[in-house]
């Protein structure tokens, strides 16, 4: 028997597929397991082409800066903090991927916690400012 995603993650992807806000889903290990069509513009990639992306790989795809345009290291990215500290994080950032220009975004990242306190992943929702 192969391994399926948890039902909570499956439903989170279904939700992300049906809304207009950019959404990224990472699993408990930090692998980027899904991003919806609106988020493809932020990552400058198409999910259909990349599929899942390991954390060390996709951290290199994106540059993140704070409000003053100072670089934010991956360990301080909202999704990383939400995953490792198991708490919601909301902050304003500047981000850029590849040759695209900088985008000013509000990001909210919150952990998805299942039964028994089991961490399933993190949902990251972006708002263009």
């Amino acid at each position: 028997m192969s391994t399926s995603k948890g039902i909570q993650i499956i439903l989170a992807r279904q939700l992300a597929s049906c809304v207009a806000m950019p959404i990224l889903l990472v699993d408990a290990e930090g692998t980027l397991i899904f991003y919806n069509e609106p988020a493809e513009a932020i990552l400058n990639q198409r999910f259909e082409e990349t599929g899942e992306i390991p954390s060390d790989e996709w951290n290199r795809l994106v540059a993140v800066a704070d409000e003053d345009r100072n670089p934010v290291q991956p360990e301080n990215w909202p999704m990383r903090v939400a995953r490792l500290q198991r708490r919601p994080v909301s902050r304003t950032i500047w981000t850029r991927s590849g040759d695209s220009g900088w985008r000013h975004l509000q990001v909210t990242a919150f952990p998805l916690v299942g039964e028994g306190g089991h961490l399933l992943g993190v949902m990251n929702i972006f708002w263009e400012i």
Binding site: M1, K5, I7
Partner: protein, 280 residues
């Protein structure tokens, strides 16, 4: 293993002349192993009659509940082994985030809904919360996973060496939220891995494709979704189950034939009828 359907109706027991062939009792399936292991899938009203087939020499029975909606537990209080001090009854089922399985079952097995309380049952009762990884029950290996249905709900995959597999997904809406179904691989489909390569899949078939849009989110499948799910999971034999109380025998004959003719699945389909037995 031998698999017998004791209750095939969904949502509400529906006895009467119009439902006599497919059956009016709610979900209950008995699985018997070659070494005598008895696993009962769900405790709908079909479980009362199923219990009459349990020999007096049996000392252990395992009841696997997919969820605690009434049509899946209503027969539990009438399950004769619960009243035998010489029998060990193991009940497996999902807890909720806030309540244990015991607390959830006691909501039904206690006054005013039922005269006998769970703690008064004379059998040797053990409760186990699922999903909990794979477990061995007699000669069976049982896997469980949460699936798409309102409230905590699991499906079960029962395997017997050397490799025969039964998967039981009586209440399941894998198409919920999907723009097209199926469009994602098994790993991203509710119940996909549980059902993968099953020799026998017993699956929710509550609605027609025409009815389904009126009940999105109620946790059930259309006949078409069920058949497409069977194709995705690459099953060998599918048994449509959990028939809608509003569907008579004549309706089900017609609806099943139309759906199968439309989908033309590459595997065998046998609409579930009370009393049917499958040998794997």
């Amino acid at each position: 293993m031998q698999v017998t359907l004791w209750g095939t109706r969904g949502s509400l027991a529906t006895p009467g002349p119009d439902t006599a062939r497919y059956g009016g009792n709610t979900s209950c399936v008995a699985v018997r192993g070659r070494e005598g292991t008895i696993v009962v899938l769900d405790a709908g009203t079909g479980i009362r009659r199923m219990a009459t087939t349990i020999d007096a020499s049996v000392r252990r029975v395992d009841v696997l509940l997919t969820h605690l909606h009434m049509d899946h537990i209503q027969g539990l209080g009438f399950f004769a082994p619960l009243y035998r001090p010489d029998v060990e009854v193991n009940i497996w089922g999902p807890a909720s985030i806030q309540l244990s399985l015991r607390a959830r079952l006691m909501r039904y097995l206690s006054p005013p809904l039922f005269p006998v309380s769970l703690r008064e049952l004379p059998c040797k009762l053990h409760l186990h919360e699922v999903p909990c990884g794979e477990v061995d029950i007699g000669e069976f290996r049982v896997a469980s996973a949460l699936v798409c249905h309102p409230g905590p709900t699991v499906g079960y995959r029962v395997s017997e060496a050397p490799g025969k597999v039964l998967t039981y997904l009586p209440d399941h809406e894998p198409a919920l939220g999907a723009r097209a179904f199926p469009s994602l691989p098994r790993a991203w489909t509710s119940g996909g891995s549980l059902a993968e390569g099953s020799d026998l899949l017993i699956h929710d078939s509550q609605y027609t494709a025409h009815e389904y849009p009126n009940y999105i989110g109620w946790g059930h499948s259309s006949l078409r979704h069920m058949l497409d799910f069977g194709t995705l999971a690459e099953v060998n034999h599918l048994v449509p189950f959990h028939h809608d109380p509003g569907h008579s025998d004549a309706d089900l004959d017609r609806l099943m034939a139309e759906a199968i003719d439309d989908a033309k699945p590459a595997y065998r389909v046998t609409p579930g009828r009370e009393g049917m037995t499958f040998a794997l």
